[in-house]
Amino acid sequence: MKVVIFGCGRTGSTLGLQLSTRGHDVTIIEQNPPALRRLGDHHNCRIVIGSGLDADVLQDAGIEHADVFFALTRGDNTNLMAAQIVKMTYHTPKVCIKVADPLRADAYRKLGYFCITPSALTAGMMRDWITEQEYGTVDIYNELPKEMVL
């Protein structure tokens, strides 16, 4: 599988290493070179320095032949915009967006985007752990407490 990851933070670097050791072809886009230290010295990821909002950078990363694009920077809006550029312009089959704000994530889910909200997953797993439930699915964890919904 050809994978393009935008953002080499904690999530991006972990995912990149996990997928590349499983034999997938991983390219990581990162604007800030020091962040690449998270990958260690012996990784198999291809690196493109730049912004995933930039068409030239996305093309350098091979977006035209990618099977999946992950938008994993720390900026929700950066992730949402990059994902929409990738979906609308390059028609990448699978797109996953990290969105920290649960309400914003919910709004874009309604547009059909696959959004992961780390805080919702973490809280849901902790809840299931302490109440000794079986761990659920992303969809279950994504469900917002009704007090939170506007």
Binding site: G75, N77, T78, M88, T89, D101, R104, A107, L150
Partner: protein, 222 residues
Amino acid sequence: MYMVLVGGGNVGLNLAKRLVNQGHELLLMEKDSRTAARIAEQIGEENVMVGDGCEMLTQKDAGFGRADVVVAVTGEDEDNMVICQMAKMVWNVERVLARVNDPDHEEIFRKIGIDETVSATGIIYALLEQQISPDVVLPIGALARGNLEVVEVELGNRSPIAGHKVRDLTLPPSTNLIWVLRGDQGLAVNGDLDLQVGDMVVAVVPRDHADELRETFVATKA
């Protein structure tokens, strides 16, 4: 009419000043509290709110739900995009307008349905481009909703249409001539009008055909 502006940089501040002077009900949202305080001194405290215009909770407090217009003029395209998208899909705001800082991003704004965008870089680039070409085709505004542009063309000495009647012109599809400026006189366009060297012709043209119009009106370089 209630307007919400997001982003208290130079663009947001100057826009807000004019709109408040014209008596519009307006709220300017600015993340940075010190910037917001400075703005409040100029446009009145009641017209400024400190907060992140991308947050749904803040949007609720700002009254996105009853806004007639939301204008996103921050320095970040990704923020302007999300503000406008949320305004449309969560709050059903009738009209949204986004500042686009990188002209390369205008296309994605259009694709996701944010039809009204303003790109200072794009406008300045067009002006510069015009300085170096002998005849003038200046987009004075993009009627983005219909993919239309208003163009202003001055008929130079080599213009192939100077000396012809309007009715004899072959125009690109869906193109309309709006008016002709001759000296300091504005002329209504009808089929009998003879076009002359020095005329300034204003036309509405589909974006895709702007170049074709340029070729029709302006002599191509020999």
